[in-house]
Amino acid sequence: MSEAISVPARPIRSASRVTPVTIFLWGLRIAALAVILYGSYQSISSGRLSGAQWRDLLIFGTSTGSVFALIALGYTMVYGVLRFINFAHGEVFMVGAMMAFYVANGLAATSLWIASPFVSLLIVFIAAMTTSASLAVLLERIAYRPLRNAPRLIPLITSIGASFTIQYLVSGLVGPSTKDFPRMEPLRGTINVAGSLIPTSRVVVIVVTVIVMIALYLFVERTRTGKSMRAVSEDQETAALMGIDVNRTIVTVFAVGGAMAGVAGALWGLVFPSLNYFSGFLPGIKAFTAAVLGGIGNILGAMLGGVSLGVVESIGPSLVLAGYDIPAFSQLKDVVAYAALVMVLIFRPTGILGERLSRDRT
């Protein structure tokens, strides 16, 4: 994929030409803004939820968003080097979560689970990370590498196929039933943070995410491998000319992205203790939204995008939809996420942090 000969993706968007499409898009923007503002005004002025409840939603959103952020890293890094959406990444996450479930289940039967929860959790995390990383590397090797130079839609369609294959393979192998994560006693309580009680599991999720993110950031910015990853995402051909093994770097990117998805899978088990073969689809889509929201190809952006999306998704229904007296508005939680996805892709495909990449690629 040489950047040099690619035509500017979008014809010059002249400010002077007002087409019906521009008017429509502006109308859509204004309508969306009006809907959000009016709904928020209504529900805040009704005082249905107290300050503490809003804070709980915020924390809930931040911890869910952390998981999205970890998954989003896989999308964002792969998009950074290969310019394609690895649609099967949600399934990489799901397989990691499945592995975490089986390891946790096995450990819960032993005394280690109660005697030393920290070691057990560490084992769970390592198992999930290795599984997801191996699956991601396998996918790259079998499904994506032969298509490196194919037209752009072909690897995307392949990844949709891979996503279906993994889902139904898992369903066939371990059965389609929903699995319940074993509970861990120390995680059931609450922690007092600055005067407010927060469930321990959510604190663990946020803390683990922050640690992993910092480690990843250091890895990408400070190590030689990280440097070659950045070089490959900048320009594959030039990187190859500079003596970087492009294939190996791409494999590393898939492995690291997969490992992050594995961490996310294990964390998912701590927060939402039920899991089946379809559990990867929705978090995958949401994490992709998060990646775009933060600016695709940008690692800090993924963190920012993930947390923002998590918060929007948890507060959105109570804030906007409740303002319109919509019955059973929690059913529409995913609509809020999808609407955020659509709006972000339509109006700000460069994301919050606006990476160069997405500008010449959308």
Binding site: F24, L156, L345, T362
Partner: protein
């Protein structure tokens, strides 16, 4: 795959051809291990166990094990395949080394299954892998003790792999007769119900009694041999000709070609007329479903195949059609009950679908490629959740959907059975096929294809990209909505869970397997991918697994589909042309810079 180990550039090659490299045994071993993983997965997902109950040929050939060893055959075939003929090399000849490669791949595959069997007999793995039951072990080991069983498995796999590789050694005419004969035997053995129904409809039940163990029974050995010989002889006699049917049609002069297509169309129409009468309600029902999918596939073919926009939320338009039809015709519709006849409601369905198409298309006009795919996916899911929600239940009925949709009535004709519905569905399909065919070479069609090849260039050449995108989405949406309205009327109710993302992906698989942008390809795709899994009841459980694998395999090996549209095939294989150009440089032939033949992006 056809990698060339760097030929020495010093020696100019003018006349003499380099000998083709021999079959790579290392590659065969790798393929064998991949095949082994595939075989283990087939066993562990329960496919072998589920299919085992089905006897293909009474009493010797159960489907489950056959499926397992067919994989060994397929990987042996791949391993024993002579490398592709490259410019500057003599064409590769298959020899005994190919057989060895095939046997090696097969044996390694079998070894993986043997290891699985050994693990299963030592540990109880059912805590994680629910399908690894003692019954499966019994099937895999043929009831033999473990050591003997492993030897047997490896031996059978090696033989299957060698046979697979041996296909390359057969003379072409024998190969062209042998493979179809085997495929036909498989078809007769798999679709016993269908064949029985066909013979019953033609009042030729004596054939059923002759070929099968009874009505609805499995194929007998005598039956299998009969089918094999008949097909083999037929293909052997036909195989003497050099050209294919398609080639001969294309070689015809213009007038004769038109006459030929008119006659072919008439024959197809007559056959279609008799299909539901002969096939009975069950097969007709399956065909109706296939027809509705075909209608959607024709619509998506316009959006993806012609205009090159990957729409993953296509099912939303199908849903809009189904719900509009249901609201306008059903007396049970919650909010608004005009109780129109479906024929009268159709224009409103079309308008609703066109509006939905515009609503989705307008915001995404500035988008291309993968972002477009994800946004349409988002729209599709939003539509499904909204149809399902309590909030809009007063209009769409929420999770309960809309029931009691009256049957289709055309004048005095009241349709009720699946056989009746076959006619309107296929009438609409034929119209849609004609429309898409006509659109292909129209002003719109050319604009769409120009946009697919390169949007910026198309725009610079004066194609109005906005109109082209909007029109593609609207035409696609209207076709899907017809399908939705007919679906609702035929089933008698619409529920939100019928409009899942898997429907969109299924339609996508149909057009990709058939050939994007090609109308006959889409028809074939719908027939194979919808009819086959519905007729094979054991198969339906693993339908989506097969779809997923099929998508990957097609994209890796044949991205243009089985009946490709010519232009698209050229586009997709442009990189192979450039590879030949690269070889030309080494061959010291006068050539231009290799980069000029790079594939279009």
């Amino acid at each position: 795959m056809a990698q060339v180990t760097a030929p020495s550039p010093a020696r100019p090659v003018e006349v003499e051809l380099r000998p083709a490299p021999p079959v790579d045994l290392g590659r065969a071993a790798r393929l064998g291990l991949i095949g082994g993983v595939a075989m283990v997965l087939v066993a562990a997902t329960g496919i072998v166990g589920t299919f085992q109950t089905r006897l293909l040929i009474d009493p010797i050939l159960p489907l489950g094990l056959l499926f397992l060893y067919l994989l060994a055959f397929a990987f042996g075939w791949m391993a024993g395949k002579p490398p592709a003929a490259l410019e500057g090399f003599a064409p590769a000849r298959a020899n005994s080394r190919n057989l060895v490669a095939g046997a090696l791949a097969g044996a390694l595959g079998g070894l993986c299954v043997g290891v699985l069997a050994a693990l299963m007999s030592t540990f109880d793995l059912r805590g994680v892998f629910v399908q690894l039951s003692p019954q499966l072990l019994e099937i895999l080991t043929f009831g033999l003790p473990l050591g003997a069983a492993i030897i047997a498995i490896v031996a059978i796999s090696a033989v299957a792999g060698a046979i697979g590789a041996g296909v390359h050694l057969l003379p072409i005419r024998l190969k062209r007769s042998l493979l179809p004969a085997l495929v036909w035997v498989m078809m007769f053995a798999l679709f016993t119900d269908l064949v029985g129904q066909l013979f019953a409809g033609l009042s030729a039940e004596f054939l059923t009694d002759f070929l099968f163990t009874g009505r609805g029974g499995a194929l007998t050995i005598v039956g299998a041999i009969t089918v094999f010989i008949v097909v083999f002889v037929a293909y052997w006699l036909l195989g003497g000709r050099e050209t294919t049917l398609r080639g001969r049609i294309e070689a015809m002069p213009r007038g004769q070609r038109t006459r030929f297509s008119l006659i072919a169309a008439a024959v197809i129409l007559i056959i279609l007329w008799f299909v539901p009468k002969v096939m009975g309600p069950f097969v007709s029902q399956v065909l109706d479903t296939a027809g509705i999918y075909l209608l959607m596939a024709l619509g998506l073919n316009i959006v993806v195949g012609y205009a090159g926009m990957l729409d993953l939320g296509y099912v939303a338009f199908f849903a809009v059609g189904a719900y509009t039809g249901a609201i306008l015709t059903s007396p049970q519709s919650p909010a608004f009950t005009p109780q129109l006849l479906l024929i009268v409601a159709i224009p409103f369905v079309m308008i609703a679908a066109a509006l939905a198409g515009l609503m989705v298309a307008t915001p995404v006009i500035r988008m291309r490629g993968d972002y477009l795919a994800i946004v349409t996916l988002g729209f599709g899911e939003i539509a499904r959740i909204l149809f399902n929600s309590e909030w809009l239940a007063p209009i769409f009925g929420g999770a309960q959907g809309i029931t009691n949709i009256p049957d289709l009535r055309i004048g005095p004709l009241q349709l009720s059975t699946p056989q009746d519905y076959f006619y309107p569905i296929f009438l609409v399909v034929l119209i849609a096929a004609y429309v898409t065919y006509a659109l292909q070479n129209s002003r719109w069609g050319r604009a769409w294809m120009a946009m697919r090849e390169d949007e910026s260039v198309a725009e610079a050449m004066g194609v109005n990209v906005v109109t082209a995108k909007l029109s593609a989405f609207v035409v696609g949406a209207v076709l899907a909505s017809f399908g939705g309205a007919l679906f609702g009327a035929q089933i008698g109710s619409v529920f939100p869970h019928s409009f899942d993302i898997v429907v969109s992906v299924t339609v996508l698989v149909i057009i990709i397997v058939g050939g994007m942008g090609s109308v006959p390809g889409v028809a074939l795709g719908a027939l194979v991918l919808i009819v086959l899994p519905n007729l094979l009841r054991e198969f339906s459980q693993y339908q989506f697994l097969f779809y997923g694998v099929l998508l990957i395999v097609m994209m890796l090996t044949k991205p243009e589909g089985f009946i490709p549209s010519k232009r698209r095939a050229q586009e997709l294989h442009a990189d192979e042309l450039s590879q030949d150009a690269w070889l030309d440089i080494y061959g010291d032939k006068p050539t231009t810079d290799a980069t000029t033949t790079e594939p279009p992006r």
